[in-house]
């Protein structure tokens, strides 16, 4: 600790250079943190749903292959099923947007709350959803995006069904990251029947909540068994596996992002190593004198290394902080993007913060170690010779 003054003084002797190096490290750490938020956002998303008891039941052939909605009733009778709800993609576009800008589904009002107790939708709003056929429950992210309030009326035109429906918003999913829009199945069913069509007889996905987490696998087996040799054989998955698969197709893209992250991290080490060696070379005479008057190698090595590590840590912390500020701003502007899904939520998790700090420590060590070691090892006479 008593050498702290020396370390700081050395950092301050070429303020411009220290500032430039610090800024470079800060930017690089910021960059790495921003990139890490993408897989971290996905991870967080998946881990949040990892230990819940929800199961997705969908057609074995694909999510776009429907199941008869009557299958939901059979699913509810399966031992250990607490609740089940049939969901059908509505594909509605809000008039002003002209295209699908948030995911919207037709659901069963009387069952939805029981399948999603963790969404914390107020019971009186769920009651309103059941009461009003044209009711809708909307995620807060979408509410905010369009400035909707509970009680507002909105019209969605479906691209999938030949209808355009008016809704009254009766409830909100109280999470800033929920883009969802739920409507009543009966409402869509009636609208189709009014056109002389068969009505809504299919379900895209049946979401099931198991009463007991240990029963999840048994329930999944039993549901799949029940549908065997029927028109629509099902494939059950846990919610985590469902979403992991759903976004698995982005894997190639994420891999490339991570490769580039590694490249950028390498880039930081280069910059910092370059600067550290410049600093040491310039101070050759001074280091030789320090040694000549009796400072040990260890002290020389330690102070030089501490200099590099101090700089990179301070810069790294600034980078991490900046990434937090930036992502908060980004989130405010960018909403749910249909092509990126949860990857579009840039969240600086604590894991990212820790990784960022470790990265900056590591950069400081790596950049400082070679020149510091070299300077500490160099014989005094040789150095003094060079200088004088």
């Amino acid at each position: 600790m008593k050498y702290l003054g020396l370390v700081l003084a050395n950092l301050g002797r070429n303020k411009l250079r220290s500032a430039l190096t610090g800024a470079a490290i800060m930017l690089a750490v910021l960059l790495v943190c921003l990139l890490l938020t993408m897989p971290a956002g996905l991870d967080l998303f998946l881990n949040n749903i990892a230990n819940n008891t929800r199961i997705s039941v969908h057609n074995k052939a694909g999510i776009v292959y429907a199941m008869p909605s009557s299958f939901t009733r059979k699913v509810r009778q399966v031992d250990g099923v607490a609740a089940a709800v049939a969901m059908t993609w509505f594909g509605g576009a809000f008039e002003e947007a002209g295209r699908v800008t948030f995911p919207n589904f037709a659901v069963e009002g009387e069952h939805i709350g029981a399948v999603y107790p963790d969404y914390n939708i107020p019971p009186e709003q769920l009651a309103d959803f059941r009461r009003y056929r044209d009711g809708a429950i909307v995620g807060r992210q979408t509410m905010k995006k369009y400035g909707w309030k509970i009680g507002d009326r909105v019209t969605l035109r479906s691209a999938v069904w030949p209808v355009a429906l008016d809704f009254r918003i009766v409830g909100e999913i109280p999470s800033d990251r929920a883009p969802l829009f739920w409507m009543n199945r009966e409402y869509l069913d009636e609208a189709l029947k009014a056109q002389g069509r068969p009505g809504l007889t299919i379900a895209g996905i049946i979401w099931v909540r198991a009463a007991d987490p240990t029963r999840v696998n048994a329930i999944m087996r039993q549901i799949d068994e029940m549908s065997r040799n029927s028109e629509a054989e099902t494939a059950c998955e846990t919610e985590k596996s469902f979403f992991a698969n759903f976004f698995g197709s982005l894997q190639g893209f994420v891999t490339i992002i991570l490769v580039v992250t590694a490249l950028v991290a390498l880039c930081i080490v280069f910059i910092a190593a370059n600067t550290a060696s410049m600093g040491v070379r310039e101070r050759a005479a001074e280091i030789a004198i320090l040694k000549a008057i009796g400072f040990g190698r260890r002290v020389i090595f330690g102070t030089l290394l501490a200099e590099a590590v101090t700089l990179s840590t301070v810069a790294g912390l600034a980078g991490v902080l900046l990434s937090k500020v930036l992502t908060d701003a980004l989130r405010a502007f960018a909403g749910w993007s249909p092509s990126l899904g949860p990857l579009s939520s840039f969240i600086v998790t604590s894991a990212v913060i820790v990784q960022g700090i470790f990265l900056s420590l590591f950069v400081g060590m790596l950049a400082g170690i070679v020149p510091s070691y070299g300077a500490a090892r160099k014989p005094v006479v040789a150095t003094l010779h060079e200088v004088f």
């Binding site: 250079r17 800024a23 470079a24 052939a61 993609w89 295209r99 190639g252």
Partner: protein, 391 residues
């Protein structure tokens, strides 16, 4: 004016330090050109899918044919509209199509949504970039399929003569098609009726692709379809449709350019450090040059040129690495699968083209200018007397 060789030789004077700084710039060049290449490859794949003479007819409000459904009445009405090209048998070149995205199992056990397009034989006349290159076109109602070149070998059973399992049925692969590198190559085509049966769709079609008789027929035809009050449908040029699809890649552009600029600024700081050190080391030299009568502007320019040359070295190294890395990724990953746009897998062949390198070159030059200006300014502002005294 100082001769150009003064700046260039100085770049060579300290090869170690030059290489260090240049490699930082090179890394930025690698990152940015790879990213740009990835996105432009994706966009190229999508954009080349559109034919300027074709119209895409979908339900209003749907932004891709995977999320559109059309009634049979709509197809029958539109099919005989004026302005649609006709084939030798005087049949309209109107291709009713059903798009479904079933699960396909990749050979490494993963699962991807692949775009399966149910078509009639007329589809090959409407999509004239699609050619069967091996085998033959499927026969209707035989459980046969033809697969695009990028699908080939990516999924279990996706080989000529093999059986592909998707949806509820099994499909025999009887042909392979290519489509000038467009996104059709990531699709599987089967008989439209068989697919509708297999998927049990309440509506038989997703949309219709039309070929206009002449380019001047496009607009009236489009207007007539859009204004038809019976069906809420919408026609757009196929080129516009795919251009819109490729816009989903624009959000990636923002991300990538953001990353490249941040990394570039970082590298700029690195370059500035090197150049400041160079200026400091050559204080006496600068003093001498000033004493000899070289103007401030000449010195500013000389150092600025040196910085840009340094960035140029970085660019050359980086561009070579980027091309190599892209080739390596092509071999290792095959195509890069994008799940973007319509939730179907688009297999994109990563190619770093001159346009992407040009973007990276621009960035490298800016890094050189931006990193070199401060040091060059300092060199130019030096008072000759002070500079010489220091020596």
């Amino acid at each position: 004016m100082l001769p150009l060789s003064y700046s260039l030789r100085n770049v060579q004077a300290r090869p170690g330090r030059t290489l260090m700084t240049a490699s930082v710039i090179a890394l930025v060049v690698v990152a940015s050109s790879l990213f740009l290449g990835l996105i432009s490859s994706l966009k190229r794949t999508l954009v080349t899918s559109g034919n300027p003479r074709n119209l895409v007819v979908m339900r209003k409000g749907s932004d891709n044919d995977g999320s559109s459904q059309l009634t049979i009445e709509a197809y029958q009405a539109i099919r005989y509209f004026d302005g649609i090209a006709r084939d030798a048998q005087d049949q309209p070149l109107a291709s009713p199509e059903l798009v479904v995205q079933p699960f396909f199992h990749t050979r490494d056990g993963g699962r991807e949504n692949v775009l399966v397009r149910g078509v009639e034989p007329v589809a090959l006349a409407v999509h004239d970039s699609v050619h069967i290159v091996e085998g033959r076109m499927f026969l209707p109602s035989q459980g046969e399929a033809v697969v695009g070149r990028s699908v080939l070998g990516r999924y279990a059973g996706a080989e000529l003569g093999n059986v592909l399992e998707f949806g509820r049925g099994k499909w025999k692969v009887v042909g392979i098609f290519d489509a000038d590198g467009s996104s059709f190559e990531s699709e599987v085509w089967v008989d439209v009726r068989e697919l509708a049966n297999d998927a049990k769709r309440p509506f038989p079609y997703s949309g219709i692709r039309l070929r206009a008789a002449t380019p001047s027929d496009i607009e009236p035809l489009q207007r007539r379809i859009n204004d038809d009050p019976r069906f809420a449908i919408e026609a757009q040029r196929e080129t516009d449709y795919y251009a819109k699809q490729s816009e989903s890649a624009n959000s990636l552009y923002v991300l990538v350019i953001g990353i490249a600029v941040l990394a570039g600024i970082g590298a700029g700081f690195g370059a500035a450090n090197t150049m400041y050190a160079a200026v400091q080391a050559r204080t006496a030299e600068i003093g001498t040059l000033r004493a000899l009568g070289f103007s401030r502007r000449a010195i500013l320019l000389a150092f600025q040129v040196e910085a840009v040359a340094l960035a140029g070295v970085g660019f050359v190294i980086g561009a070579a690495c980027a091309l190599g890395l892209a080739a390596l990724l092509r071999v290792m990953l095959g195509g890069v699968a994008f799940g973007a746009a319509t939730f179907t897998t688009n297999v994109v062949t990563l190619r770093v083209r001159s346009g992407d390198l040009l973007g990276a070159l621009g960035l490298a030059v800016v890094i050189g200018l931006f990193g070199g200006f401060g040091p060059a300014w300092r060199a130019a502002r030096m008072r000759p007397i002070d500079a010489l005294r220091k020596a």
